[in-house]
Amino acid sequence: MIVIIDYGMGNLKSVENAFTKVGYKTVITDDLNQIKKASALVLPGVGAFRDAIKSLGAKKIDKELSEAIRREGKPFLGICLGMQLLFAFSEEGGLFKGLNIIPGRVKRFSSLVKCPHLGWNKIKFTHNLNYNMNPIFRDILDESYFYFVHSYYCEADNQKIIYSTTDYGSAFPSSIWKDNLFGVQFHPEKSSTSGLKILKNFGELSKC
């Protein structure tokens, strides 16, 4: 069962409906037992980093997530803020500690571009064809368009985890991948067919 983690931030219903559309049942919950039992985890998110990390801490979900991702190797998908939360720090509204699962930080776009970065934009894969294929991007073409809404972006210390970049003023990571951990800065649940394909691919991992 795919669990969508409910921590009071966001786009849960749209994510759930999108999974339903591609044939996967999900449970929206903040219950630690259910999170423990999940075969895959999704951390959506819209809103402020500070509030999000506070809420994850208050519900003790933060520790459980680190455990599930690092030790148990459970498939995990972070969407938008849900991906940013995985990093060590965020500069949004001050300097705040994140889940610290990925070394790096979350930064604001330069003042030269309009914020938020809102709309459809294309992703460019960073890998060459010999590279091991990211399973959730199976059947997704390079330069596909996805839907973005965000003012902050991730800066990863380890460039190898960046699976695609997107240009907005300069190139930023639009998706990351390390083993069982997947992060997308765009909203697959609002990205039409390509987005749904990604959710479907992720759903397949939950069956393994």
């Binding site: 931030m9 219903k13 809103g47 609002k190 990205s191 039409s192």
Partner: protein
């Protein structure tokens, strides 16, 4: 989230209708160009310009005025009303329209709709106007028996990148938006949605802002801006994200 001022043009003037009735017209300015400049100067990030004569008669009518607006303001302009074929969409994009809103044409010719979405991608928007939950076409004069939500899903399947959902019964009424219907729509489509119809107060905007995370990208405001119920500056302040 985007606050999108609407400029509806009828016979060269900036007007507002009530519930889409062409008889129920209120004139707000004889100079739509000045109105466009005003909204842009107040900080609007995008404008929504509708050719009401075009929508009514199925033929672009106020095109030179539209061109002047596009040339004059340095913000994106989305436009619609009376666009009934491929070439017209192309012409409007070449003219500088950032996005072209289509309605009737999508309803009438699904294979053309598919081709338009494919060729122009997010340069076209599926405009879904609903009365009592059913799709209205041809300048809202005809109500079909097609459910608006089903139609939205169909548009998404055909490749639409964005939807504008208008509740005709609320449009121009200053009665507040039908939040239940907007929420239902935004939850059930997998592309961004812009809503319009009935937005009257800052409180309405606050309520709609809660749907942002579900995929509500913007709010079109018409009469409330012209009547002064909402000040654009205040509305913009409400939606600015950190």
């Amino acid at each position: 989230m985007l606050i999108i001022p609407a400029i509806d043009i009828k016979e060269g003037r900036c007007v507002r209708l009530t519930e889409g009735q062409f008889e129920d017209v209120e004139i707000f300015s004889d100079d739509p160009l000045m109105v466009a400049v005003k909204w842009a100067n107040k900080g609007a990030m995008i404008l929504h310009v509708v050719d009401l004569d075009g929508a009514r008669y199925g033929k672009l009518t106020n095109i030179s005025l539209l061109e002047q607006i596009i040339k004059k303001v340095n913000i994106p302009v989305q436009t619609g009303g009376g666009i009934r074929n491929y070439q017209e969409v192309k012409n409007l994009i070449n003219l500088g329209a950032s996005r072209v809103i289509l309605g009737t044409i999508l309803w009438k010719d699904k294979s053309l709709a598919k081709r338009l979405f494919r060729d122009f991608s997010e340069k076209v928007i599926a405009g879904i106007d609903a009365r009592e939950g059913y799709v209205a076409i041809e300048g809202w004069q005809n109500i079909t028996s097609v459910d608006a939500l089903d139609f939205a899903k169909e548009m998404e399947r055909l490749g639409a990148r964005r939807i504008i959902y208008t509740d005709i019964k609320r449009d121009g009424t200053l009665e507040g938006p039908n939040i239940t219907n907007i929420e239902k729509m935004v939850k059930n489509v997998n592309i961004p949605l812009i809503c319009s119809g009935g937005i009257t107060s800052l409180d309405d905007i606050k309520k709609l802002k809660r749907l942002e995370g579900l995929g509500l990208e913007g709010i079109i405001i018409g009469k409330a801006l012209y009547k002064g119920n909402i000040l654009l500056e205040e509305a913009l302040k409400l939606v600015v994200s950190e």
